[in-house]
Each structure stands twice: as C-alpha cells, then as structure tokens.
Amino acid sequence: MIRIVSFFMDLIDIPMRHAQKYLRGHTIAWVFLLPNLVLFGLFAFLPILLNVAYAFTGTDNIMLWDRTYVAGDNFAALTACSNYLDANSCELDLFWRSVHNTLLFIVLQVGIMVGVSLVTALILNRRIRARGFFRSVFFFPVLLSPVVVALIWKWILQRNGLMNAGLEQLGLERVIWMLDRNWAFAWSVFLSVWAHMGFYTLILLAGLQAIPRDVYDAATMDAAKPFRTFYRITLPLLMPTMLVVMVLALIKGVQTFDEVYAFTGGGPGSATTLIIQYIYETGFAGAPRLFGLASAASIILAVVLAALTFLQLKFTRKNADG
C-alpha cells in the first residue's frame, strides 16, 4: 500500500519539478493548493452560494428553480424582535430561544472542552504505563454515533438509571434530571464534552509531540516547577495547536446538534434547543420545509460565527507566536 502510494507520489515529482522551474519563488504554493481549491469550489463554495440564494427565496419547494424570490423577507422575519433579550417579544420566538441557548451553551462548552482536553492531553503525554490503552479510553466516545451517545446517557440519567441509583446509595434524593431545565442544559453540555473531548485531546497530544524534548530539559535545569513549566513552556509552544482546538471547539460547539437533539430533543420545552436544531426542524424535518428561513438563519449563524472566530484568532495571535 505504502509502496503504491510512494510510486505515484514519485511520479508526480516529475511534472512538479517542471512546474517549479517556471513558477518563481512561492507561486508553487498554488499548485499544492489546486486540488483542494477545486474540491472546495465544487463541494463547499458552490453549495454555500446556493444556500445564500435559498435564503432569498420562499415556498416549500425543494429545488431552487421552483422557488420564488422574496428578497429579504426571511431575514426580516428572523430579526423581527422588539427586544432581542426576550425571545417572547420576537416574531420567531423559537429562533431567538435557540440563539440564547446556543450562546450560553458555547460559553460553557468551549471553556470546559478546551480545559478538559488540555488536562487530559497533558496527562496522557506523561510517561505512564499503557499509554495507548488510556488514549483509547478517552477517545472511544468519539467513535460512537450521536444516537448511541444520547442513548447511553439517557439510560444513565433516567428516573431509574445508574446516576439515581448512585445518589440513593449516597443517601441523597433522586433527581429527575431531564425534567429540570437547568439540569437538562448542564447535562447537554456535559454530553457534548464527553462525546468530543477525545477529538481535541488527540489534536493536543499531537501538538505536544511537536515541542522539542530538550527545551523541557532546559526548563528542568532552570528549576522550573511543573506549573511554571506548563505556563511558560508548554502553553506558549502549544499555542498553534491550541488555536486549532479553540477555533474548532467554538465552531463545532455552535454547530452542536445531533447528540443533544437525540438526548433531549431540545427540551424540556425549548430549554436545550440549539440553533442548528432550529434550522434543522425548520428546513428539513419540519413540514412544510421552510428552506428559505433555514438558510437565512444559517447565514446569520455563519456571520456571527465568523465574527467570533475572528475575535478569537485576533486575541490568541497576540499570545501565540506571530
């Protein structure tokens, strides 16, 4: 397998060598970017553009050409609110409830996710026995499908579940977790951290590997205590990777859907309805399918997300080495 791939890779060398001759300096970069840009163009940009087009159309027809142009109606509907902090005052109250929920959700989830992944990665990067096993332990949940993740935790948290059995063992009252808005929300955050932290841990683990060993040796000789080593050596040198984790955690955090949907269905009421669920129920699962509205909502989401990411990058750039 490796050999076959090698063979082809070496074949590519020949045209690349020629290309290199004609492309001065760093223009060769475009050659490396080309395959990706083609794929991106076709399967990312084009759909996104179409999606934008959808946002300006109405009716429940699926095919763009069957739909009618409604200009900014969808955006107007989404943003019709007398008080953005009070969802009840909005024309589409469910949209705004989900926006509020999502904001709170990412604040909690991203923070916890990054923290927990970092601690786990640091611990797994120590010289411990059976490292591979422990890595798997923390990674396994990532492999589970959202439906299964939700199922498992529903089992554990249900009225007669493991968690309540545990509480009773400790002499505490049972809690019907999923009936309480706050608990349901907290568990949703927990669930998504549980299901995805392995992913970020893995990325951080790889990042930790890129830190040269001898810098740690130097720090040891400089009598740096573990915490200081972490703050002054590990963290700054891990910054490029941390950036990946933070940006991805934010973006994927905002896009959280499947597992929470399967877990609470967005309930109780709309307590854990996140924005993607709103989009999904409006545009896909709903009847009639309000594609236009869903697309408009997704564009608003993307714009907000871009702003957040930009801020985040700007903020961390300062700390990371520029």
Binding site: T27, L39, F134, S136, A206, G207, A210, P212, I279, S295
Partner: protein, 350 residues
C-alpha cells in the same frame, strides 16, 4: 496486586511519587470510569435481548430467564424460586399465570399444578448472551457488501483527503505567497457553515456532476475538509524551516520536500487526521443517506440506522450493529495512535 500497583505507578525510574503522579493516576482512574464505563455498558447491552433492554432498572450483565423442558409441555417453562408460602425455597416451573396467581409445577412432578401467589415467587435468571443480536445481522442483510462499501469509501476518501489536505496545509504553512491570508480565511470560512445546512445544495451539485448514487459521490465531496487543512497547517508551522532548507540544498524538488520531509515529520498530525477521517467517513450517516439510494451502495451506517423506524427502534440490533461497526475503527485507532507519539521531539539539530 502489589505488583500491578507497582507496574502502574512506575514513573521515570525515580523513586518517589510526585503529587502530579497521584493526580495522574486518579485522573486516569476517573477517566476509565467516566469515559470507558459507558462504552463497556454499551458493549454489554449489545448482548441483551430487547426485553432486557426495556427493563428498569437496567442491569450490567445480560440476563435471561432460565427455562426448563418438561414432559407434557410443548414450550420450555420458565423457572422460579418460591420465597414464601408452603413451597418456600423450592424451584418450580411456571405453567401459566392468571391474574395474581401463578400456576406452577414441581420439576419432579410436572403433572400436579399448584397455585401460588404471584408475589411469592422470584424468577431464576442466568447470564445469557444474546448472540442472536449479532448472528441475525448477518442473516438479515448483506453485511459483507455494506462492509465492503464502507471500507472502500473510508479508505479511498481518507487517502484522498490526507493527500489533498496535507498538500494545501503544506502550501499554507511553508510558503509566503500573496493570497495566503485569503485562502486561509476561506478555509476557516468554510468551517463556519454547518454541514446539515448545505446538504440540499450539496445534493444538487453532486447530482449535476452525475456522482449521485455511486460510492464516488460519497467519497469526493467530503475530501476537502477545512478541519484537516487547519489542523495540519498549524502542526506544520512547528517544523523548522531549516530542515526544508537542507532538503532544498539536497536538490529536492518542492514536491519531494512535501512528500519526503514535511509529510513524515507531520506524522502525529497525520495520524490524528487519519483517525478522524476514518472515523468521519466510517460513521458518516447524513451524507450517504442522501447521496445513496440504492441498497447495493449502502454503507454500514445506513444499514445500521435502518433499525430506526418511525415509532420504534430495534435497539438490540442497533446496538449489536454499533459494536460491530465500532470494532474496525477501534482497531485502526489502536494501530494509528502510536504514531501520535512519534513526534520530532528532538530535531537532531542544534
């Protein structure tokens, strides 16, 4: 025991355990419980019958009622232990239940029917592994075909994705060209749009390209992931440029530098991405669902989810299938995870 403890707690050859070591082991123990416990539970559950799965409160091990074949009864009869009344302590077989009374027979006298109160008996159960959850899968549908489809999609898509993404990441990490910032912004920009949202437009594009309902229709659209580019690029940034320079002096073409120097040095990130890519492709459900409609092209995940009906879900089959589909990725993970630890811890330079 002492030995395992010693084995587990051995550090870098230095005698005493630092508090960080204690913390580490406490954390790992907690990790096993919290992260692995549910997974183990899942595996155990996949061996339970539907009835057992419905049961409150759930039990860790799969149990099933013990039965006995008795003369004169066509079906095996469930066994019970009597806990109160005349027969206390005896094991009986229940013939039938009527209202609050249960008609039972002694095992040695199957003809004589005795009536006892429902509450006076407890079922005798034993651990029973519902392997039929698994065997049924193979008989119910063309497991091998779906397995092959999934494998093909996963392998090809992963290879394409790794190559294409790492090429782009290399360009973005190691060249200073005008337009780099724009491309980078674009990559991050694409990340912003959730996949769920663009499914329909993507469907239309794929259809127009005539790739619908073929495995390529699943493979190609997913090959250029912004996540992969972003991840690899950030990692490649940490590779010292001097090594690339050395290769340039060795007359390596830029392609060779990418392929022979940067790619191997990014092994940890590539391993991470490979694991993720394999996982994404293998577990991908939404896109194959919409892109594939002929069952001969179905992936395991599609087959797996066909247990989900409108109002009921066959959990026992679903769980067995989950475990079964989990195994290959788990193996791949076990294999690839060690590459995560092959970093360039020392660059061999000054």
């Amino acid at each position: 025991m002492a030995k395992t403890l010693e084995f587990l707690t051995r550090t870098r050859g230095h005698g005493k355990l630092h508090w960080t070591d204690w913390f580490t082991y406490a954390y790992l123990l907690f990790g096993i419980l919290l992260m692995f416990g549910p997974v183990v539970w899942l595996v155990m559950s996949s061996f339970k019958t539907d009835a057992e799965l419905d049961r409150f409160p759930p039990r860790f091990l799969p149990y099933a009622a013990q039965t006995v074949e008795l003369e004169g009864y066509s079906k095996p009869l469930p066994l019970y232990k009597v806990v109160a009344g005349d027969l206390t302590g005896e094991t009986v077989a229940q013939v039938r239940r009527i209202g609050l009374t249960s008609q039972v027979v002694r095992l040695d006298a199957p003809e004589e029917i005795i009536k006892i109160n429902l509450k006076d008996r407890e079922p005798i159960e034993r651990i029973s592994i519902a392997t039929e959850n698994y065997t049924d899968l193979f008989s119910k549908f063309d497991f091998l075909r779906f397995f092959w489809n999934s494998t093909f999609i996963t392998v090809v898509a992963t290879v394409i994705m790794l190559i294409v993404n790492s090429m782009a990441a290399f360009a973005l990490a190691k060249y200073k060209f005008s337009g780099r910032a724009a491309v980078m912004a674009m990559v991050i920009g694409v990340l912003m749009i959730p996949q769920t949202v663009v499914l329909v437009p993507l469907f239309i594009v794929t259809k127009e390209l005539g790739m619908l309902d073929s495995l390529w229709g699943v493979i190609v659209p997913g090959a250029a992931t912004p996540t992969g580019i972003f991840l690899l690029r950030q990692y490649m940034l940490t590779i010292p440029d001097e090594i690339l320079d050395a290769a340039r002096m060795d007359k390596a073409s830029e392609w060779k530098i990418y392929w022979r120097i940067v790619l191997p040095l990014s092994a940890p990130a590539i391993a991470v991405l490979a694991i993720l890519a394999i996982m994404w492709r293998w577990n991908d459900f939404l896109w194959p669902l919409i892109a594939l409609s002929r069952s001969e092209n179905f992936t395991l995940q599609l087959a797996l989810n066909s247990f989900q009906g409108e109002m009921t879900t066959q959990w026992s089959s679903l769980l067995a299938m989950t475990v079964l589909t989990l195994l290959p990725v788990a193996f791949v993970f076990a294999f690839l995870q060690k590459y995560i630890a092959t970093g360039i811890a020392s660059t061999g330079g000054k």
